[in-house]
């Protein structure tokens, strides 16, 4: 079915993205240099320049539900080489944020979000990353699913995990810092501020 192109959709999405700090998508002339240099392009459903294109055309859901915004490894090659000096990697950040807020995160990419969440949860509660705890936390939620998709994963991670322990690279207890509560407060305040912003 043909995608509907509507002025309101185009304008409102462009405005939304720009106000969120994602830049003016209209500046992109679709040369594709970002896609050409993207190391993870082969894992994407939309190429980076197509993401910008969708923003230009107000195709909101296509972008927010895309795997691409989560496949992006934030390596910043696109931003560095863009002839129009458009900060495409940052646009990805912005789109991820909106995608999370609206619960549109691509199903196949949920692991990335789960990992980020596990990571941040760990930081929120300890002030620093408690790697073992985080890995455990993450694996509990995802290992089973991953194993179904790619059985080698378990085995490989096992290899790595074993090594980590054997090489004394993982602590069993989190380091605790004085500012623990302070960091927690920062998380709370950020959440509150973002809520109020989201409402606007």
């Amino acid at each position: 079915m043909a995608a509907k192109i509507e002025q309101t959709a185009i304008e409102s999405f462009a405005k939304e993205v720009e106000e969120a700090g994602g830049g003016r998508a209209a500046e992109c002339y679709q040369c594709g240099k970002c896609s050409a240099g993207c190391p993870v392009a082969s894992f994407m459903d939309l190429l980076p320049h197509q993401v910008v294109r969708c923003v230009q055309l107000g195709m909101r859901d296509e972008v927010l539900r895309s795997a691409t915004i989560w496949v992006c490894a934030s390596c910043l090659t696109c931003t560095t080489r863009c002839p129009k000096e458009f900060e495409i990697a940052h646009l990805m950040d912005i789109l991820r944020e909106i995608s999370v807020r609206e619960g549109k995160v691509s199903v196949r990419q949920k692991d990335k979000l789960r990992f980020h969440r596990a990571f941040l949860r760990s930081v929120e509660s300890h002030g620093r990353i408690f790697e073992l705890g985080m890995i455990q936390n993450f694996k509990m939620r995802t290992a089973a699913k991953q194993a179904l998709r790619d059985p080698r994963v378990l085995m490989q991670d096992a290899m790595m995990g074993k090594g980590m322990l054997f090489k004394r690279k993982l602590r069993f207890l989190p380091e605790t810092i004085k500012g623990k509560k302070h960091v927690k407060r920062i998380f709370d305040r950020v959440r509150r501020l973002e809520k109020s912003k989201g409402k606007k």
Binding site: G32, K33, C34, P83, K84
Partner: protein, 670 residues
């Protein structure tokens, strides 16, 4: 008692949309001295001009103010109309209510208010205007053409064949420019040198063309019809009067490994050299940087005639008794008087080593479009065979990349270089015609092939010669086992692509010759932020600059292909011939004059005058004794900048058309 008429133009809707003409007319009627104010749809139209003429007669007007477009556009129209009605044209002034008002503001009320102000300013000014008579100046009917590329050659030939002398100045040892370096030309694929060299020879033989090669412009003084130009002839170290161009000297020169400018470094030349076989003039020069004798002399710190190193070229020179080779020659500065100047200094290519993602010119097999021309040219270093600079092998495939530097804000060049789409298509054909089993790939953003038979040409490259076009920019090129890997994208299929190739050709951006800004400053003509020279009007005065008597031709004004450059060359020539068509020129009477009764001869004015238009004049009593010295302006030389007026300590100099009274009147009106 002043009797001013005010005429407000609607310019269709252009002015009327935001500046209310009726309100303006009403307001104008109330202004002191205004006896007549009307508005009309198109003041510049015949009926519009007729209204002005009739009003002048009917209301016995002593001044006219037309509120319309910029004076750059129709000032002459309305002044001529006034003159036809018997009013001195310099009693007609323009209020610029379009470019400076209606086009740049949206709020109708505010814009109208501003429009009325702009009218009042001119009403007050015109009240103070005086009748002026245009100044007549003689014309030197010789032209100077700067730059010996195809544009300069065309201009010079057209002017010379039009019956006037031309001084043609070229920086390098030969005329021909970039066109001489090209192999074939689009969209016809005819050999570039085959069509260029006849023109070069014609220039060389032309009785009315005086050719200065290996020369540069030192200074330019004067004004339209009367320029005085100083030209520096760099020392050729060869007496061109004696030299027959036999070439014996080049045979024996031991310095054989100097990268040839003509072959863009792909070939070599000797230290005493003439850039290419068909050079005009075909007389060598010694490149003093690389000549062994000059090097030795510099090293030892001794004068060149005491240096005895090498000298093979001198010994070999067959001319007797005095040899043509002359080491002790020095730069020479000559002065030429001309009436008009045409600038045709052309372009250069953006360097290939400016791209980190393409390896900073590290890889010898990544070359520029111009280098490819030399590879493909029969007169080139490979005698027309396409071979890799790195190992001389024939590339099995070649990747061409367009818009390298062009349309690239990050590289500071947002403009399109115009010719790359076409010459890249040409390159793919040349390559296919020479390497039948080879494959050409082209990365492009858009194909810009507007022009007679241009798009057909590109289609031919794709449909008949099988060039594969991919839409997208290349992000990176890197080495892999002696080949190059090109990481690109084809946005049409939505695929990231990777091509292993033997050679990459970058269609790098066209930019103005270095130092173009310096030249522009010498000539007092404007240029844009990319150092391209600015034409007087983007559409209607494409070859004139806003300095009278100075024209533009070719790529010094903007990226151009050969047909455009040639067309502009002829256009510039016709402008010059126009100037030369009369013995005298009429010039705006905007000149300064001194009130000798007040002047106490401090001559501060003389110091600041850029044109040396101010002389000392001795006032004598009846016995012929000098009583005092005063300043005197030569109206033929004065250009009306007004520097002297502002500099005058006695307030005794004033500038016709912009005198103090007029300016104060304008300020008061606001």
């Amino acid at each position: 008692m002043a009797r001013i008429g005010v005429f407000i133009c609607h310019c269709g809707e252009n002015i009327a949309r935001t500046v209310d003409p009726i309100a303006c007319a009403e307001a104008a009627k109330k202004m002191r001295g205004v006896v007549h104010a009307v508005e009309y749809k198109y003041m510049c139209s015949d009926p519009g001009q007729q209204m002005i003429k009739e009003a002048i007669a009917e209301h016995r007007l002593t001044g006219v103010v037309v509120a319309a477009c910029s004076p750059q556009m129709h000032e002459t129209t309305f002044r001529r109309a006034s003159a036809e009605a018997g009013l001195n044209p310099y009693l007609c002034e323009i209020s610029n209510v379009r470019e400076h008002c209606s086009w740049v503001h949206e709020d109708k009320a505010a814009a109208t208010e501003k429009g009325i102000d702009l009218i009042r300013v001119m009403v007050e000014k015109v009240k103070k205007n005086e009748e002026l008579q245009p100044i007549k100046v003689p014309v030197t009917k010789r032209a100077l053409v700067i730059g010996g590329g195809i544009a300069g050659i065309q201009t010079a030939l057209d002017i010379a064949n039009g019956g006037h002398e031309v001084v043609l100045v070229e920086r390098t040892p030969s005329i021909g420019g970039h066109m001489a370096q090209l192999s074939e030309t689009f969209p016809t694929l005819d050999c570039s040198q085959c069509i260029l060299t006849p023109r070069m020879v014609e220039v060389g033989q032309h009785p009315r063309i005086k050719l200065y090669v290996y020369s540069e412009i030192e200074s330019v003084d004067g004004f339209i019809g009367n320029f005085e130009v100083k030209i520096r002839q760099k020392a050729k170290s060869v007496d061109t009067k004696l030299c027959t161009g036999c070439g014996a000297c080049q045979q024996v020169c031991p310095q054989k490994k100097i990268p040839s400018e003509f072959d863009v470094g792909l070939g070599t030349r000797t230290a005493i050299y003439s850039p290419f076989p068909q050079a005009v003039p075909n007389k060598p020069v010694i490149d003093r940087e690389n000549c062994l004798r000059f090097r030795a002399a510099r090293k030892k710190g001794i004068p060149i005639d005491e240096c005895t190193v090498c000298g093979k070229c001198y010994e070999e020179c067959p001319i007797e008794p005095r040899k043509a080779v002359d080491f002790s020659q020095t730069d020479e500065v000559v002065t030429e008087k001309v009436g008009a100047i045409v600038v045709a200094t052309g372009f250069e290519l953006y360097p290939t080593d400016a791209y980190g993602e393409y390896g900073y010119g590290k890889h010898p097999d990544i070359i520029s479009g111009l280098e490819f021309e030399r590879l493909a040219s029969a007169s080139g270093p490979t005698t027309g065979e396409i071979r890799r600079p790195s190992d001389g092998s024939v590339p099995k495939n070649v990747v061409f990349i367009q818009c390298v530097g062009s349309r690239d804000n990050a590289k500071g060049i947002p403009y399109c270089s115009k010719i790359c789409c076409m010459y890249t298509a040409k390159h793919t054909m040349l390559y296919k015609h020479k390497v039948h089993d080879g494959q050409a790939y082209v990365f492009y953003m858009d194909i810009r092939s507007g022009g007679k038979n241009y798009d057909e040409f590109v289609r031919r490259a794709i449909e008949e010669d099988g060039a594969v076009y991919l839409r997208g920019r290349v992000s990176r090129i890197y080495r892999k086992e002696g080949r190059l890997v090109v990481l690109g994208v084809d946005t049409l299929s939505g695929k990231k692509v990777e091509i292993e190739t033997d050679m990459v050709v970058l269609a790098t951006a066209m930019q103005a010759q270095p130092q173009t800004d310096k030249l522009a400053q010498t000539l007092g003509i404007p240029y844009d932020q990319y150092e391209f020279l600015s034409e007087a009007h983007p559409k209607l005065r494409p070859v004139e600059t806003n300095t009278a008597g100075v024209m533009l031709a070719g790529a010094c004004q903007a990226p151009k292909d050969i047909p455009d450059a040639v067309a502009q060359g002829s256009a510039a020539a016709s402008k010059v011939l126009g100037i030369f068509s009369s013995d005298e020129l009429e010039r705006e009477p905007v000149v300064a004059s001194v009130d000798e009764n007040i002047c106490f001869g401090c001559l501060a004015c003389k110091e600041v005058c850029p044109y040396g238009a101010i002389e000392e004049k001795e006032i004598k009593d009846r016995d012929g004794n000098v009583v005092r010295v005063v300043a005197q302006v030569n109206p033929g030389v004065c250009q009306g900048c007004g520097l002297c007026v502002a500099a005058c300590r006695a307030n005794c100099i004033d500038l016709a058309g912009f005198n103090d009274e007029q300016v104060y009147a304008e300020i008061k009106a606001l």
